[in-house]
């Protein structure tokens, strides 16, 4: 299992989701991905995308104007 980061700052919905989706496609089940966003919509959309694709949101926190969302790739990834 490995940990990855994705800088999705300044990207607006749905680009943070698209970047997350594309990054997760290259990861293995159990891997974690920390996504940093500035679009507040991302903290709704990335968890929604995770729920429908069987991934898990381990943490979603706001830090100033940024949202940091940590996703764990699910067993039946993609």
């Amino acid at each position: 299992m490995s940990h990855h980061q994705l800088d999705a700052r300044r990207l607006l919905c749905p680009m943070p989701v698209i970047r997350t989706q594309n990054k997760v496609q290259g990861l293995a089940p159990g891997d974690t991905l920390e996504v940093i966003c500035t679009d507040p919509g991302a903290h709704h959309d990335i968890p929604a995308w995770c729920r429908i694709h069987g991934h898990h949101v381990l943490e979603s926190r706001q830090q100033g104007h940024e949202w940091i969302i940590t996703v764990q790739v699910g067993a039946s990834a993609n």
Partner: protein
């Protein structure tokens, strides 16, 4: 028991595509959604920029629909490929810069490619005959099927009974009798079907999902091309057309003036790509200058406009910091332009 057939559904986030997918799910078909991001999708963007809108609850309706009906959704970035659709629409534009028929054909074509690459059997859309003047007419539906390459693997569950049977119907992958015969602009059949499926909440009927149908946005896009002398654009251009006041005081440059805190913060991310203006003797908006080389007169004119939109608009003079693309700054002291000095035609 045989393996269910697999359909990829174009999901816009509106009610029709939701019902089309739900209709097939009810027949035991495996459905996954696909949604294309062209760069012109209204969804989310400006809502995420303006401060007053950030307090409202937000959601991506396509994702929300997918979750409500229990399907996966694949969102595909087609910003670059979409340029050719916008710049060279075979079937022309609608009332603004909206190439609706070419757009629908393009999306079905991309869905068809996805279908082939992922081992799916057919494509479904939420199209209804007669609902849209350009892309959803009985005579244009075969055009979309033909030009996309999807042919009779394109099924429109909401109006299928009014169209010749497609491959999924002829092969018995779906039961044609349990498809629908909706037509026209009325929403009543869709609302009744939603009720039948127990769907109580859905996004308001479509029509405003694409910025290209918006007269103001289309005007700004055409102005951008005219100002540059070329119909080129990139993703950042599309984003910046959605924020600020746009004024073109001279043919070779325009100004983008932030209207509030959220827009100013968003535009800050672009300031290194543009000569930009910021009042320093009083609070004021960030102003980006988009265009060719600016003369000293141009810089003073732009500074005067920046001052006009600042809190120092009534002052005799305002200090405006001008920073060029290399990061070199200087301060100009200017008289703010009066309202009467800004011709209406400067506003794009």
């Amino acid at each position: 028991m045989s393996t269910p057939r697999k359909a990829v559904a174009l999901i816009s986030g509106g009610l029709d595509s939701m019902l089309a997918a739900k209709t097939l799910l009810a027949q035991g078909v495996h459905v996954e959604g696909i949604n294309f991001f062209t760069g012109f999708c209204v969804e989310g963007h400006t809502h995420a920029i303006r401060k007053k809108d950030q307090e409202k609850p937000k959601r991506n309706n396509a994702l929300w629909v997918a979750e409500q009906i229990g399907i996966k959704l694949h969102i595909v970035d087609v910003v670059d490929e979409y340029k050719d659709v916008l710049l060279n629409p075979k079937h022309g534009y609608g009332s603004n810069m909206n190439p609706c028929l070419d757009c629908k054909g393009f999306m079905v074509k991309k869905a068809h490619e996805w279908m082939l690459a992922h081992g799916f059997d057919f494509i479904i859309t939420g199209e209804v005959i007669g609902q849209r003047p350009m892309s959803q007419r009985k005579d244009t539906m075969p055009v979309i099927a033909r030009e996309s390459g999807a042919l009779d693997r394109l099924l429109r569950p909401l109006c299928a009974k009014l169209l010749p049977p497609t491959l999924p119907e002829r092969e018995g992958w779906v039961d044609r009798e349990r498809l629908h015969d909706f037509s026209g602009r009325t929403r009543k059949p869709q609302m009744a079907l939603a009720e039948q499926f127990g769907i109580a909440e859905y996004a308001q009927p479509a029509g405003g999902c694409c910025f290209l149908t918006d007269v103001s946005y289309s005007k700004k896009l055409v102005d951008l091309w005219t100002g540059r002398g070329t119909r080129e654009y990139d993703f950042d251009d599309l984003m910046l057309l959605k924020v600020g006041r746009h004024l073109r005081p001279r043919p070779h440059f325009k100004l983008i003036v932030g209207r509030e805190e959220g827009e100013n913060r968003f535009m800050e991310g672009y300031r290194h790509q543009f000569t930009h203006f910021q009042t320093v003797s009083c609070p004021g908006p960030l102003v980006l200058a988009d265009g060719g080389a600016l003369s000293d007169d141009d810089l003073h004119l732009a500074a005067g406009l920046a001052a006009r939109f600042s809190q120092g608009r009534d002052a005799a003079q305002v200090d405006v910091q001008v920073t060029d693309k290399t990061g070199v700054s200087r301060t100009l002291t200017v008289a703010p332009l009066s309202a009467g000095q800004i011709p209406a035609e400067w506003y794009v």
